[in-house]
Symmetry: D2
């Protein structure tokens, strides 16, 4: 049976993301207290893969996740999952909206529900919690400091808590992105709507070094959907780039771009090619299709096999 780690505790949006993975519902699911702890379970072989937030998460983890997979023993992203972020307000048994005085949740979730709370429970005070799920769990304790919690619908239903209000996030349709991370042994198959994630150390800090890197993509018609410079932490002004590019390493244009990048910055890391969760396809220009690459390689090869001039007594 497969086993998965995820950023816990039970009932987080991250667990909701994991439950989207085929087979995960019946697999062992191990909550981890931090992103790093989840990834370490993969590295040690304790689990097959780990689900962690990568972007805009209400449970945080963005920069932490980026930095964690950029360094240390190599890992591989094998799947991307989008989870609609919908907050509910849950209370202790019998609690009513008007009576709420203390609300616990994660700081990010609190920030994302400010509009609703200021209007509907203006007198309520905020109690920080280490996660939305933890805040909900604690409501079951008799000694809980708080009367209510803001959490995911998943944890609310699982714990059987009273839902006092639904959809209380300020942004409708908020969505958070999660990634499933394994050891670097697998390469998901090409689907035609894929994404490739890379970590690229900046070879030299001069105007144009970044351009040189990006040109490797542009020259092959490969679009970028995310770019972030991150300090390496080694010394101020030393950066690496974390990049998502459209396409799969099995696409000739992506493979060619990666070769170009490897030449410029041999220390780059391939973090995975995997299906885009939003299934958004991208146009491929005629001259960057696999066919165009194959034709070009064939053409050059046909020239290279000519016999040397001079072999027939000329020139």
């Amino acid at each position: 049976m497969s086993s998965y780690a995820y950023l816990g505790p039970e009932g987080t949006f991250t667990e909701a993301a994991l439950l989207q993975v085929p087979g995960a519902e019946n697999a062992e699911r191990v909550p981890a207290t931090t992103v790093n702890a989840a990834l370490d379970m993969v590295r040690s072989g304790r689990v097959k893969a780990a689900m962690v937030p990568i972007e805009n998460s209400v449970e945080g983890g963005v920069s932490a996740t980026l930095d964690a997979i950029a360094q240390g023993e190599q890992l591989r992203i094998i799947r991307e999952v989008l989870v609609p972020i919908s907050f509910v307000l849950v209370g202790k048994p019998g609690m009513e909206l008007a009576a709420i005085r203390f609300v616990a949740t994660h700081g990010h979730a609190w920030a994302q529900c400010r509009g609703w709370t200021e209007k509907n429970i203006p007198a309520a005070e905020y109690i920080p919690a280490s996660s939305t799920a933890a805040a909900a769990h604690e409501l079951l304790d008799d000694g809980a400091d708080h009367d209510a919690a803001i959490c995911s619908p998943l944890v609310a239903s699982r714990l059987g808590l009273t839902v006092l209000a639904e959809h209380i996030g300020d942004v409708a349709d908020a969505v958070t992105r999660f990634i499933l991370v394994s050891k670097p042994d697998f390469l998901p198959e090409r689907t035609g709507a894929d994404k490739t994630t890379l970590v690229i150390p900046l070879p030299e800090d001069h105007p144009g070094a970044l351009m040189e890197i990006l040109d490797q993509f542009a020259a092959r018609g490969v679009n970028l959907s995310r770019i972030e410079s991150r300090p390496t932490g080694l010394f101020l002004g030393d950066y690496f780039f974390s990049i998502d590019a459209d396409g799969h390493i099995a696409d000739a244009r992506v493979a060619d771009a990666l070769q170009g990048l490897h030449r410029i910055s041999p220390g780059l890391r391939f973090l995975g090619s995997y299906a885009r969760a939003d299934r958004r396809e991208y146009e491929v220009a005629r001259h960057t299709s696999d066919q165009a690459f194959e034709a070009a390689q064939g053409w050059v090869r046909s020239i290279l096999v000519s016999p040397a001039a001079g072999s027939e007594d000329i020139g």
Copy 2:
């Protein structure tokens, strides 16, 4: 008297950053509970300027700050401050290291001291707090849940708390960057070691759109020290770029790059030109100096003043 907002409560690293601003020690300093709240005090005129974390902060706020100044009523960055991040462990009066069972602090600070805590107080349990300073303040309450807190040296000395251990962060020499933000009425003077911060909406999502933007910098020899794509939140795949470039808008090459950017992406935001906190200077190529720009403009102007051919009966 000037007045400043900052991400509070009292004693945060952000207040330490504010205290580096000349005159701030004797000015009114207003703590705010969130980055947005601090910025809103600037927008409303309640304070002259606000100090907020911009990068890697132990109190969080990075993405929040980037997004907050990228949208809404315009603001201007007028100063950058670096604060060495040094953590101390403080306890209730009389508390000894061996007796600690519950330690409160902000989640980021807890993560940054994991090495030390696992080795020195392995049995201690983590209690989340909304900031390192809040965790310390609460130690003064009789009913505090926790025995100790991880916080800044500033808040420890201000509250007269017992310091049980110093320099407990896992990374020596950690430094966090803060920015001082005002209304868009001021432009700090050029110092020769400056930084310009911009927010640039991506005009179109095609391979090369980002290149076109970056080329505006590269073509003028302007180096970038930070770049981040950020989702606009309007719809998936809609991005803006948050960029720090070397130099001041009063440098001809930076002004020229900004003009090029404005033509491509007229919705860009100028968030300020201000002295680099690290005073690191950058080389300016001969052909991107102010002199080269002036000479080039003079040359083109000298041609444009020629009388029209035909005016003298030829051609």
Copy 3:
């Protein structure tokens, strides 16, 4: 009265080009034996302007013209003229096609009529002449070596020679380009379908130096219609570039590109902005219009006038 030099003798395609210039028909027209001689008459003030071939001329002169205007005292191109190249075969009085044994003409014209001559007068022998017009003129001499000449319709009609065959060039619709050159005192007015000619020394011989130059055009959406590297003659491997770009220096995007070029290669020469003879217009992208440049400059200027921060007791 205006006076013009042209690459002679009388009746050349170059004179035909000159006759297209308004007023030239009634002006003094001075034939010159070489392109350099024609240009020197401009430099010395002997004539107001000179018409010389610039491309593909049946009378040669392409490289010679390029090099002549690239060096020495500055000159200015003020007009471009296209002349349809149509060859006729003319004979001595009474001569018939079948009787022709020697045909004189310029080497380029001979080459361009090979198809016709091989088919129609296969036995005829070629006699080189310094120009098509000279070959025709000589037919009037009693002692001429040749029986017939290949020349322009203009010279045939002017000398009253018997035309034995018309349109004998192998390429129908051949057209040659000529330029009218004056002292660098004039700048033709912008017409909306203009061309700008430049001579740009390559600043350094490294991969990318040429790219840097061309990027100055591409970054402003300026298309090139001709580019040629020419050895400077100073030493092997030292080049300059002769370039025709779409647009007029009075177009903001062209002026901006020229400023960029001047910074990179301050020794560049502006050889003129003038109406395209083919009147072909070009599309101007929204973000490279004069309006976009004006808006961008206004935006940057509006920021630069902000008072210095600190002037009001902050930051």
Copy 4:
């Protein structure tokens, strides 16, 4: 025995170039009256290879040669030869300098000796000839129109003509470039100081199309030593580019650039990789070496062989 064509007649600088080819001295050497005629002898199999001028030739032929090898049945450049251009003035037997009234030579040679002739034989008149060698040959005829000829030292010595003056060219150290052209069956071996010649149709006439082409070279650190846009003759504004690039198609970076070009402009022509006549070597950046290409290909290949995720019951 090998046989070679060359742009004749006997004694031209082109024959001098051919004589530099090992073995040519004892091979059959067939003079041709035009560049096209010489190339046609190669195409038909009449000769093994042809020597023709490619640049700045005193016998012309530059544009003609470029255009001739760019079109029609494919050919291959297999060798480049540089010939120092040195002119001599030869006279009929017994002729003295002061007595010369008519001087025959090719127009280009006449132009290149103008300084000397204006100073030393100012009264002499110019008689055009189809080549410098032809002018010299005709001096042996009793009925020659001219008293003297300007030609190469080779033809002077071969015909035993009286040399009246040596080194009469205006430019000391003038050098002309010639190429040896065969059928497209041979590929000279890589020497480390090579040149690759290409003909590239411009895929589309938009600002940046040329940039896209040149970027294929720049992105691989391949320097260009010559570039020329040439009208295709199909319609005005339709161009191809004639390019010389540093390096040999057997260099990984050149092969990679050619593949990139083939994808953009599949109609491009490979005209040959051959040793540079000037033996000038070029620096190869570490990241464009054959080793860097091999390492990059190996790295991408190592990723592509990973088994598909899912095959082991995960993700």
